[in-house]
């Protein structure tokens, strides 16, 4: 008797569960994008936002986007990995419920309690509000994160269980033998399984570390005499935070591996290099977080050097095999482009381009002048908005089978693409001009960047609105349909 079997008895339609994830994702993405737009408009001085509230909005936008990035890319992962391993729909839905509870607590902390310590809740900032928010508001935020973490923990553990029961060990599911030429690549695990294994390894370890620092932060809130080394806390928080947001791209990329072959009628070929790339990226994603601490002079030098070297290498292996694989699977395949294929293809491109500013910022000499500028939001918006989100939107479009309404979806696609590009370029240019990040009030010289960025963001949101709207139009039929093949 296992929980999994009990879950099976309730007979929830797994496809409907995935669509529920995506419905929540679509709405939350739009709301969080509007929060982001609010900040850009405020910086552009086109609307008036009190600085205190700006930081509430910034915190909510950050926490909300990181959370929904995790949730939506987990939907991609779960949908495809189900094809190869037994997983529990009940656990999958439990994660959604925990997420929603956590989201309510976090939104309450921000919009009712005024919590604005940034989503990274750096110790001991939550306990030092300067009167802007109460201890209970900070606790509500931290408990909200714990709820979300517990949900994801359960989901990843369940996938781990499924992988262990099918492949015996995580190493085998990652394709370690294939990576080192010890077993033929043709007998290696499917890409979705390899990617899921990497994601669950990174996220489970990250969540364990995050849980520890969250508990410590909570105790510190209520018993302030219990303190903790702030630099150690920052290490733990970024170990968790960096890993969690970074892994979203590795979950979402499964959409590329599974969707492009459908439209090109070619199999996604895996070879030893593919598995080696995933093995290396697994190691890197777990060790790269120190590039968030390049400005902390108290860190041991070797960790910073490692942070620089690893962040140059970190994303590259999987990115290279994925970009190369994408090109080979598309090249001369006779693919007739449709919005779903175009979105996942764009996702790979956005990811590849977004890595370039990351490599610049991962360099200590550059970091010390660039890290607190808008260069960094420029980098992560490139690879998240135009990479990870594009893959998720592609997946949403793919599931809701868009044939009858291609024209409408194409409009959404182009608005999203053009607006998104303008939006991230405004960030990057502002960063290159040393416009600081996280400033509620901007001086006159910075306004042009903010205004161009605001326009780009508005156009991009219009595009996403169209794509999400037509997802909702197709959702009813999609629940009972089959995946396009």
């Amino acid at each position: 008797m296992t929980m999994a079997v009990t879950a099976g008895r309730t007979a929830i339609n797994p496809r409907a569960a995935v669509l529920a994830y995506l419905a929540v994702s679509g709405i939350v993405y739009l709301l969080m994008m509007l929060l982001g737009l609010t900040m850009r408009l405020a910086q552009a001085q086109w609307i008036d936002v009190p600085p205190n509230f700006f930081y509430v909005v910034m915190t909510m936008h950050g926490a909300g986007m990181v959370g929904i990035a995790g949730l939506s890319s987990a939907a991609v992962m779960w949908h495809f990995v189900r094809r190869y391993i037994p997983v529990s729909t009940a656990v999958f839905l439990t994660n959604l419920v925990f997420f929603l509870i956590g989201a309510v607590l976090i939104l309450g902390a921000g919009f009712i309690g005024g919590f604005g310590a940034a989503w990274t809740f750096l110790f001991p900032l939550p306990a030092h509000s300067g009167g802007l928010w109460s201890v209970n508001a900070a606790a509500s935020y931290l408990v909200g994160l714990i709820f979300i973490g517990v949900g994801f923990l359960l989901l990843h553990l369940d996938i781990a269980r499924g992988i262990l029961s099918t492949y015996g060990g995580l190493g085998a599911a990652l394709g370690v033998k294939q990576a080192f030429g010890l077993a033929p690549a043709e007998k290696g695990p499917p890409p979705a399984v390899t990617a899921s294994t990497m994601a669950l390894i990174a996220n489970i370890l990250g969540i364990l570390v995050g849980a520890a620092v969250l508990v410590i932060s909570l105790v510190n809130l209520y018993v302030p005499t219990f303190t903790f080394n702030a630099l150690a806390a920052k290490n733990l928080i970024y170990y968790f935070g960096h890993t969690f947001i970074n892994v979203t791209i590795y979950m979402a990329v499964i959409a590329v591996y599974e969707i492009l072959p459908v439209y090109t009628h070619r199999k996604w070929k895996t070879n030893w290099a593919f598995y080696l790339a995933w093995v290396l990226s697994t190691v890197f994603v777990l060790t790269v977080y120190t590039h968030h601490l390049l400005m902390d002079f108290a860190m041991p030098t070797w960790t910073l050097v490692a942070g620089q070297v690893i962040s140059w290498l970190s994303g590259l292996p999987v990115l290279l095999v994925t970009a190369f694989g994408t090109l080979t699977v598309v090249y001369r395949s006779g693919l007739r482009w449709n919005p779903a294929a175009a979105l996942v293809f764009l996702g790979v491109a956005g990811w590849a381009i977004g890595v370039i500013p990351a490599i610049a910022d991962g360099t200590i000499a550059v970091n010390s002048v660039m890290h607190n500028t808008q260069w960094v939001p420029g980098h992560f918006h490139t690879y998240l908005l135009l990479g990870m989100v594009a893959m998720v939107l592609g997946f949403m479009t793919y599931l809701t089978n868009p044939q009858p309404r291609y024209g409408f979806a194409w409009l959404g696609y182009w608005l999203y693409l053009v607006g998104g590009v303008i939006f991230v370029i405004a960030f990057l240019l502002a960063g290159a001009a040393s416009v600081p990040r996280r400033y509620a009030v901007h001086v006159a010289q910075w306004l042009p960047y903010d205004r161009i960025g605001s326009i780009g963001a508005t156009v991009a949101i219009a595009g996403v609105l169209i794509l999400v709207a037509r997802f909702f139009v197709g959702i009813r039929t999609a629940a009972s349909a089959q995946d396009p093949t």
Partner: protein
């Protein structure tokens, strides 16, 4: 080893731990108290449970559905004996120490031995995933505490205990991860049959593993 021998050995070990010299020696230091004596007491109970699980009354096995009640006892029991005040009381008063010597094997160790087998893999993993960070966080708090938490332990002992708990948490985390990575499972008893959820998923899984 026969059941009887094992029982004799366990009771003997219990008595050895209760010897004033051993008891005092292990309780003189916070790290030894928390990371050696208490786990040993729990292990004794778990051993007894493993040796005598055949005699477990059927109603108990049935009521302990999926091992949930038993593991709840383990979580609550270990939490109780992690309260600094409880440590102080156990040192100050031998009668309270006797309560500790009885409750840890009987109300924590035995439920652990009996219920762990019943708990499905996801439940076990979840318990591990909760236990490891909790241990690390408690260790971290011991390090950061500005005052002595126990009247009977020095600040340096408290710090050592903090580092010990963190080290144990990290070691458990690594062991757990490595075991999952290479696919190692403890070989005692029968492994639970492979769970299946969605018929289609299962078929594809079998297909994939056959291919």
């Amino acid at each position: 080893m026969s059941t009887r021998r094992l029982l004799v050995a366990t009771c003997g070990s219990w008595l050895v731990l209760w010897l004033p010299a051993v008891r005092g020696g292990l309780e003189r230091d916070m790290a030894l108290h928390m990371a050696v004596q208490m786990p040993l007491l729990i292990a004794l109970g778990a051993l007894v449970a493993a040796a005598t699980c055949r005699f477990e009354p059927r109603w108990l096995a049935a009521a302990d559905w999926l091992g949930i009640a038993g593991i709840a006892a383990v979580v609550l029991g270990t939490s109780f004996w992690m309260v600094p005040r409880a440590l102080d009381q156990a040192i100050a008063d031998w009668r309270i120490d006797l309560v500790k010597f009885l409750t840890l094997p009987l109300l924590v160790g035995m439920p652990l031995g009996l219920s762990w087998r019943r708990m499905p893999p996801l439940g076990r993993a979840f318990i591990w995933a909760n236990f490891i960070p909790k241990l690390g966080a408690v260790g971290g708090l011991y390090l950061g505490a500005p005052m002595r938490l126990c009247a009977y332990y020095r600040l340096d002992q408290q710090e050592l205990a903090g580092w010990t708990l963190i080290a144990v948490a990290v070691a458990l985390g690594i062991t757990w991860f490595v075991a999952a990575f290479i696919g190692w499972t403890p070989s005692c008893g029968k492994r639970p049959s492979r769970p299946s959820v969605d018929g289609a998923g299962r078929q594809r899984a079998l297909h994939a593993s056959a291919a």
